[in-house]
Amino acid sequence: MLRIRRLVVLLMCMLPFAVVATVVTASQPRPITLAVHPYLSFQELKERFQPLADYLQTVLNREVVVRVGPNYAEHIAYIGLDKVDIAFMGPAMYVRMVDRFGKKPLLARLAINGEPVFHGYLVTREGSGITRIDALRGKRFAFGDPDSTMSYLIPRYMMLEAGIDVRDLADYHFLGSHVNVALAVLAGAFDAGAVKEEVFYAYMHKGLEALAKSKSYSEHLFVTRANAPEDFVDTLRQALLHLADTEQGRVILQGIKSSATSLVRVQDSDYDSMRTVLDTLKQHGVE
């Protein structure tokens, strides 16, 4: 009996501390999550996006952490389910996410060399004798990543437009990256391949030749969760749109992509051409 009484007294004594701890914990805001799809290694992406996280932390006066998803699907699911506050994603990924989870508040899209769009190239090496897309029939073709917009989806669309399906090719492989595709073509491992614009330019002088250039497609973009407060969304959007106003901001941008010059306004219709591509591909069984 005496023991129970003592225990009660002890708990009564500890109660104020527990209350204070709870209040303190509740008063601390949750960190802002900046999610990035795994198009590079985790470490590389952390290094590229941490300066932006720091910048946003300053603006928002809240902690911002970088999160790299294990794969593209999980990344899409996290955004779709509003489990992250800010997400950086490619155009095809955005279209698929909207198709599945609905629209999200858009913040800004990248502008490369002042243009918020980008192109893809079907490439071959100099002297290959391949001058038209339909000449790819019976040739070996190198794609990048199956989830990659410019090294797979757009090239498949371009070939379909030209009446070529992968079945018409002698062989095709996914080589993982745009650079790998360019090098494989240059090395003669493949007769042709698909690369994004900047890679084409990088290897053009080494003998890479453009077989065809794609239409313009809207660049990568930043989105936020659907349930984000309006002022939070505005603050974020303004912060990103004005990032390139300062030298420090431009450095942050070039840290993410060396050719990025600014972040510009974005709207969902900017990705309609991409929707068309994906729909067409879907009709041909490419998901």
Binding site: L175, N180, G188, G207
Partner: protein
């Protein structure tokens, strides 16, 4: 280069040795360097082959996985990582360079290897790997810089060691030569010294060396024998202290040393050894450079003196002999007269003679009565005594004449038994023997061999020997009168080619020492004035030298003494009378 030791050629040799050593070492070093370079090159090539095999493995993996993007990064990272990679290039089958790493620095010793890697669609990528083996040159250079100073140091050390070794060798040789010469000189000196010492010791004289202060510096065997002192006992002592008996010589010795004048002391008498020692002393001063001193030669002339005395004695004896002969001759005449007269008296008083009867008848004298008267009055006995005495005196004179008659030996055939009898008779009539030693008390036992042949000898001399032996026996037995009957045994025996004569007495005998010296001249056990010590030595001389026989003595204390004489039996042809000149 002239060395202090005069070993000029050794320096030249060592310089030549140095050049040779350096040459050998240089050639060896170059060979080592070349070998090392070859080995390093082989190692580097082997490493390069290993490297390219490893690179090929990596690149094959990348190429087959079509990971072209990372190929260049791989090439760069491995180009950086692999030491001394000058260039690493991966070229696709179409000539496109998939990866290329090249150092800015120019290769010193490029070594290029190429391998092919199969990749997609049977394409062959070529990997060109160039390694700069210039590190070998650096290594060789380092080795060269390490070796050459070492080489120089080794050469110098070797040269220095050789030089020191040569110096030591030549010094050792020089020392050996010097030592050898010193040894030879020392040996020569020792030989000379031994020779001189031998000469010094072999000298029959007593030689004593003294220094300028009169201290004994040399002492020969003669001195050791004469004075019974070893060199260790006398060397360094003053001459007068070393030989006190000769202390009186010290002034003369010093005088001779100081004046440099040889000094002769013809006769010096001392009693150092218990008997008179006569010596002739010659002091020779030494005049050698840096040396002053003298050599004292002491010649023991005792024997010479004694021989001189003996000769004097002999002369006396000869004189006495001559006198005796003269006296005997003079006595013999009246003695003949006495004997003849006595015989005539006896004959003329005898009644048996007819002429006596005629005269007695004429005078009316009865001869028988007169004979009775003479007999009763003992006249005839007196006369007979006179006759016997005269006869005995005649024999004595005859013996004396025979004993001392001449200086030449006469060998004749002599019967030893008769001679022994004669000697006994002489001895029995010898005055000394009769009066002093009572010879008649001694029983003479004769054990003669009746078949003894005659011997060719000098009768007189053998007689002298035998008489001397009997006299000595008589003297010895009378001196040690033990109250019992004394005997002298005279024996004669025939041996194979000699006659043995023994004269044995039952006297006190002799101890060993006396026995050993019994034939020495002037050795006598008789009191001074009684014996000359010449008897037995003369006897020894007569037997051994004159007759080629032997004489020996066998005796022991209280066992008597037996003298044995062996005279050779002369061949028949030599038994004729011979006369030899007396060699004495």
């Amino acid at each position: 280069m002239k060395s202090r030791n005069g070993i000029n050629y050794s320096a030249r040799n060592t310089w030549l040795g140095l050049v040779l050593i350096m040459l050998i070492l240089t050639v060896s070093t170059f060979a080592v360097l070349q070998q090392q370079e070859k080995r390093l090159l082989e190692n580097a090539m082997s490493n390069a082959n290993d490297d390219i095999r490893f690179i090929k493995l990596l690149l094959t993996d990348a190429l087959q996985q079509q990971n072209f993007e990372h190929l260049n990064a791989l090439v760069h990272s491995w180009g950086q990582m692999i030491s001394y990679t000058q260039e690493l290039k991966v070229t696709a089958a179409n000539g496109f360079v998939l990866g290329h790493f090249q150092r800015d620095q120019q290769a010193v010793r490029p070594y290029t290897l190429q391998v092919s890697i199969k990749y997609a669609y049977n394409g062959l990528a070529t990997v060109t790997f160039t390694k700069d083996l210039g590190a070998i040159d650096a290594s060789i250079n380092r080795l060269r810089w390490q070796l050459f100073p070492g080489l120089l140091l080794i050469g110098l050390v070797f040269w220095r060691m050789s030089w020191l070794g040569l110096q030591r060798k030549y010094k050792a040789q020089a020392l050996d030569q010097t030592n050898r010469r010193l040894r030879e000189t020392a040996d020569q000196l020792e030989t000379t010294r031994a020779y001189l010492r031998n000469v010094f010791d072999s000298m029959p004289s007593t030689l004593i060396g003294v220094d300028a202060k009169g201290k004994v510096s040399m002492w020969n065997m003669g001195a050791e024998k004469l004075f019974g002192l070893t060199p260790a006992q006398v060397i360094g002592k003053a001459f007068s202290q070393a030989i006190p008996a000769y202390a009186a010589l010290m002034p003369k010795l010093m005088d001779a040393i100081n004046t440099g004048t040889p000094t002769l002391i013809e006769r010096h008498v001392s009693h150092e050894v218990g008997k008179p020692l006569f010596s002739e002393i010659m002091i020779y001063p030494l005049h050698a450079v840096g040396t002053r001193g003298a050599v004292v030669r002491i010649d023991d002339i005792t024997q010479r003196i004694q021989i001189e005395q003996m000769m004097v004695q002999s002369e006396k004896m000869l004189t006495v002999g001559g006198l005796a002969a003269g006296m005997a001759h003079e006595i013999n005449n009246p003695l003949s007269g006495i004997l003849q007269s006595t015989q005539n008296i006896l004959r003329r008083v005898s009644p048996d003679l007819p002429e006596n009867q005629v005269v007695a008848h004429e005078l009316g004298l009865d001869l028988e009565a007169m004979k009775g008267f003479l007999a009763r009055r003992g006249v005839l006995d007196f006369l007979e005594g006179i006759r016997e005495a005269a006869q005995r005196a005649g024999r004595i004179v005859s013996d004396m004449l025979a004993f001392s008659r001449r200086s030449t030996s006469e060998f004749s055939q002599v019967s030893i038994n008769e001679l022994l009898d004669t000697v006994v008779r002489i001895a029995s009539n010898d005055y000394d023997l009769k009066k002093t030693y009572d010879f008649k008390k001694i029983k003479i036992v004769k054990e003669y061999d009746p078949t003894l042949p005659v011997v060719l000898c000098d009768r007189v001399e053998i007689e002298q020997v035998l008489l001397n032996l009997i006299k000595n026996a008589t003297y010895a037995m009378s001196e040690a009168d033990i109250g019992k009957e004394q005997f002298i045994y005279l024996r004669s025996t025939r041996e194979a080619d000699s006659i043995r004569i023994e004269i044995e007495d039952t006297g006190p005998g002799m101890d060993e020492k006396t026995k050993r010296r019994v034939f020495e001249p002037f050795f006598t056990t008789k009191p001074i004035g009684v014996g000359t010590g010449l008897g037995l030595s003369v006897s020894y001389y007569i037997i051994s030298e004159q007759h080629k026989g032997t004489i020996s003595v066998d005796s022991a204390p209280y066992k008597g003494a037996r003298f044995t004489i062996r005279l050779p039996v002369a061949p028949t042809s030599q038994r004729d009378d011979h006369t030899y000149t007396d060699r004495r």
